[in-house]
């Protein structure tokens, strides 16, 4: 035990007006004691209960200072109204520092009694472990502690650990962080926690990966690039046992721009493309989540029935209807195929004058055609007409790997689609235990946009609610962030076992959700420095303030300056850029020679196929994709031949 821990820094005091209770006590200190809001202290009782001397741990939640004056007027009079003369006084007035602390833990636990009068000590490392009940999961053989930061007060620098069983499951799960933009360091905190999680996640709990949605700017675009940290940060890293290095395994996924050639991400610099994969989906991938893109007005019961019919009977199946579409056979694999099918069907129905087809009214068919065909336009770059797919490696996820999906430049609908499909696929694979890893952390920023507390019920919100309520049983864990916690659906944040708070907005703190915090804690939250967080965790009976290091990762702004986004280039240059990571020997001349005779859409199709297959011989495979498509020649209509009249014109049995 340190000298500081042995020397009392205060004494518990209780009066009739301000009595101590089992959950709160008061103590005074000298004027120069290192106590402040958030400091953890230990009270040594004088009496034994059940053979054990009582010991109480508390965290300071409020502080008071006052002198023996009854009225400020007295002080004004005493100094003749001149503040400057106060420093001339021969004696300083008696002044008291009185603190209120909330009880973190009492030993013995039973019977629960009011806090006794006794000496107050600054808590040391061991005290903090006991006070926060971390001793249970930091014990040998049960180490599930994940460092979240360092508690600092007086001379004490103690790492604070979260319990992996309560952060990733199965006991509790999910983490939510809130705070104002720019100052709350939400993204930095998540990056740091992921690094800590990847380092300390217990082996016996299995493998873990993270899927992060980059929803704004270059925030998460350079997780694999080293960033600058100072000595203070290094000390925090060392204290927490985490290596100050960027993530070793990061995979990026980004859709194309609407031209289908350039990647729609701020991480498009050629030097960083080796771990960037295009994210493109076709009809089959999208149709399952049509509900995400079509609002309630679009999808009524009749339209829904037709979409179900298309999904079940048309897509990826051989389809023919001899009655309406005689002689035609369809196998719809892409939006283009689907469009052709719609077109043929509607022409046929109009030609025949039919009002409906297989119970579906022609107006419904027109409406569904309009909405579905529109998807590839609205989500251009993500959704392809030709059915080519570039996807996350579902089934082969790797341990301690971060998968970043950059949707920052996508339209809102497309973002929703990406989000819904990825999370659903993760869930499906985790249910079947074939994802490749046992646990997945999904990081979603701007949660108040995806799961707002008000507004209409959306597919994404329902999915987030489901994830928050049932994800932990599957190993699917939500790490979420937002500026205003009060604007997020209560069930989503309520199910977050761990909650972090950075610098808070005063208006937000005035909302009912923060009424349990003391005014001093609220004030501290409103003035938190960068790199400080308030932590609530199931094991901690009171919020705890910690400091965490700056992530050893290149900041998004720095990355965007150092690795500027690639400019839009010619098709050939874009091809070179995307294929070169597969084969560095490729040259622009070779590509120009190969593609010169081919249509642009064929070239893109060949590129997509190459990127999807990642063949060992890129040149041969790419050329083969182009060669396999024989250029079509325009078909000249055969001259009409007058049929031989073989029967009288009025023959009722004639053709």
């Amino acid at each position: 035990m340190t000298t500081a821990a042995l020397t009392p820094l205060g004494r518990v005091v209780a009066t009739e007006r301000r009595p101590n209770t089992p959950h709160e006590f008061h103590f005074w200190t000298s004027l120069d004691s290192p106590v402040g809001v958030g400091t953890i202290v230990r009270v040594e009782g004088k009496y034994t209960i059940n053979g054990q001397i009582t010991r109480v741990y508390g965290v300071v939640v409020e502080g008071f200072s006052y002198s023996d004056l009854q009225s400020p007027l007295h002080d004004v009079l005493g100094h003749d109204g001149s503040p400057a003369s106060a420093s001339l006084a021969s004696t300083e007035r008696a002044e008291i520092r009185l603190y209120t602390a909330a009880v973190l833990r009492q030993l013995p636990d039973e019977p629960l009694q009011p806090v006794p009068l006794g000496d107050v000590h600054l808590a040391d490392d061991a005290d903090i472990a006991v006070a926060l009940r971390m001793d249970g999961y930091l014990a040998d053989g049960a180490r599930t502690g994940i460092p979240i930061g360092v508690y600092h007060a007086g001379g004490t620098d103690a790492p604070i650990y979260l319990d992996a069983d309560f952060l990733i499951g199965p006991e509790a799960a999910h983490l939510n962080i809130t705070g104002v933009s720019g100052l709350a360091t939400k993204t930095s905190a998540i990056e740091w926690i992921l690094a800590s999680l990847f380092t300390h996640f217990p082996e016996q709990k299995g493998s873990i990966a993270a899927v992060c949605f980059n929803v704004k700017g270059p925030d998460l675009c350079f997780l694999d690039q080293p960033g600058e940290i100072d000595e203070r940060d290094r000390a925090l890293y060392e204290k927490c046992g985490v290596s100050p290095a960027p993530f070793g395994n990061v995979q990026y996924f980004a859709p194309y721009k609407s031209d289908g050639v350039s990647l729609n991400t701020l991480r498009s610099n050629e030097a960083l493309l080796d771990n960037v994969t295009a994210l493109t989906w076709g009809l089959r991938e999208v149709l399952q989540y049509a509900e995400v893109l079509l609002n309630k007005d679009d999808v009524d019961a009749k339209a829904d029935a037709l979409i179900d019919f298309i999904r079940e009977r048309i897509v990826d199946r051989d389809f023919h209807d001899e009655l309406v579409l005689p002689g035609k056979r369809y196998r719809v694999r892409s939006f283009a195929d689907l469009e052709q099918w719609f077109k043929d069907l509607l022409v046929a129905l109009e030609h025949r004058g039919n009002e409906s087809w297989r119970t579906h009214h022609i107006a419904t068919i027109r409406k569904v055609r309009n909405r579905l065909s529109n998807i590839s336009t609205r989500c251009a770059g993500l959704v392809t007409d030709d059915g080519n797919v570039g996807d996350l490696p579902f089934g082969s996820f790797q341990d301690r790997t971060v998968y970043v999906i950059d949707v920052a430049s996508l339209e809102e609908d497309a973002q929703d689609l990406v989000f819904a499909r990825v999370v659903t696929k993760l869930r499906e694979h985790l249910e079947k235990r074939d994802l490749g890893v046992k646990h997945v952390v999904v990081f979603v920023d701007e949660l108040n946009k995806y799961a707002p507390s008000d507004g209409q019920d959306t597919y994404v919100r329902k999915m987030l609610l489901d994830l928050a309520e049932r994800g932990r049983y599957l190993g699917l864990v939500l790490f979420s962030a937002q500026q205003f916690r009060s604007q997020v659906h209560r069930r989503v944040v309520g199910n977050s076992g761990t909650a972090l708070y950075g610098r808070m907005d005063a208006d937000e703190l005035a909302t009912p959700g923060y009424s349990v915090l003391s005014p001093a804690v609220k004030t501290k939250l409103a003035t938190l420095e960068k790199g400080q967080l308030m932590v609530r965790h199931p094991h901690f009976t009171q919020p705890i303030f910690v400091r965490f290091p700056r992530p050893a990762i290149m900041r998004g702004r720095d990355g965007a300056e150092r690795y500027p986004q690639a400019q839009d280039v010619t098709l050939e240059a874009a091809l070179l850029r995307s294929l070169r990571p597969l084969d560095p020997t490729l040259t622009l001349n070779w590509i120009q020679d190969v593609v010169v005779l081919h249509e642009e859409e064929d070239v893109i199709r060949a590129r997509n196929a190459t990127l999807r297959e990642r063949p060992s011989d890129v040149r041969r495979f790419f050329k083969a994709q182009l060669a396999s498509r024989v250029p079509t020649t325009p078909v000249t209509p055969r001259p009409m031949v007058t049929p031989i009249r073989s029967a009288p014109a009025d023959d009722p049995y004639g053709p």
């Binding site: 002080d75 005493g78 001339l88 006084a89 021969s90 004696t91 300083e92 007035r93």
Partner: protein, 331 residues
């Protein structure tokens, strides 16, 4: 139930009463007397004027104190007393008295306790009125018992006379405690000590060069005639001529009046204190005047911070208020 509302001292008083009842069940305990006797016992000494033996010059006159105020006092001494009737035995009161004294030392403009304060608790009673069993019961309580039987041989006395007698004995004990601490200071320290009250009660303190007594009450005014008008006419920062205070039972000391605050709008005693220091061995007008000026500047330096919220803040310095607050907390 008022037990919770009372301070620790009062709880001790209740315990004492319970003990007393166990020893002498017939004794009538006073359980409803919250007020200290000091508040109900008036100062019986009549106000008076005494002619002053002026040491500085030939007549009493007002003198402005020139110079910068200097916080030279190293410490402050004060004492407190509290007495309450715990029981009556056939109309004779048994008084529980607490006296305390403390020296609060100033370091870096903050006050801390010098050595251990004195806290004494005693029982005061006219033992002549009690039976031997009752006296034994009192002694069995574990507190020192002080016999306050008056010199008068009257067979029966008014209980208030007996009560007042007890209070005066408590006051004497308080003065003794103050004197004890002051003498201890003079023995160990050389820096100036501010004493609340006169210094002439102790032959050691009264001749010490490091003690300054400051008297706030003026039931005895050392001036007559024009001299009295001179004192009443003192303005803030002015002092009177130094005069000698003598008494058959006390040590002669040099004294002067000093006005700490402007009395405009108040009574003539507003902000007026009388200062006592050791009397010079040889009467020397040239030295006693500058000494009085220097000491006056020390006292004027203590005019801030105000001793508010104490009602005597016009005459009381903050160091003395701090002593009283300290003693209030420990008794």
């Amino acid at each position: 139930m008022t037990v919770v509302l009372r301070a620790a001292t009062d709880q001790g008083l209740l315990a004492l009463q319970r003990q007393l009842r166990a020893l002498a069940p017939d004794i009538a305990l006073v359980t409803n007397g919250d007020q200290a006797l000091e508040r109900v016992t008036p100062d019986a000494r009549p106000p008076r004027l005494v002619g002053a033996d002026v040491m500085e010059g030939s007549v009493m006159r007002a003198r402005r104190v020139f110079g910068d105020h200097e916080a030279a006092f190293a410490a402050f001494l004060d004492g407190t007393q509290t007495s309450r009737v715990v029981a009556y035995v056939d109309g004779t009161p048994i008084v529980h008295g607490t006296v305390a004294a403390v020296v609060r030392m100033r370091r870096n403009r903050r006050l801390t306790t010098w050595h251990r304060p004195i806290v004494r608790r005693r029982l005061y009673a006219c033992l002549r009125a009690f039976t031997p069993e009752q006296v034994r019961a009192l002694h069995a309580l574990g507190l020192e018992v002080v016999d306050t039987t008056p010199a008068s041989q009257e067979p029966a006395l008014h209980p208030f006379i007996l009560r007042d007698e007890a209070v005066h004995r408590v006051q004497e004990d308080r003065e003794e405690a103050e004197r004890e601490l002051a003498e201890r200071w003079c023995h160990h320290e050389r820096e100036p000590l501010f004493i609340d009250g006169g210094i002439s009660g102790s032959d050691k303190v009264a001749v010490s060069a490091c003690t300054v007594g400051v008297v706030k009450s003026h039931r005895t005014l050392y001036a007559e005639g024009d001299a009295l008008q001179t004192i009443f006419g003192l303005r803030s920062g002015e002092r009177s001529s130094v005069f000698r205070v003598t008494s058959p039972k006390r040590i002669p000391v040099a004294s002067w009046y000093l006005r700490l605050r402007d009395p405009l709008g108040y009574d003539p005693m507003w902000g007026l204190v009388r200062v006592e220091i050791a009397c010079p061995a040889h009467i020397d007008a040239d030295s006693v005047g500058p000494t009085a000026d220097r000491v006056s500047l020390w006292i004027l330096a203590e005019a801030t911070p105000l001793a508010l919220p104490d009602g005597r803040w016009d005459k009381m310095v903050y160091g003395i208020r701090d002593c009283e607050e300290f003693l209030h907390a420990v008794t």
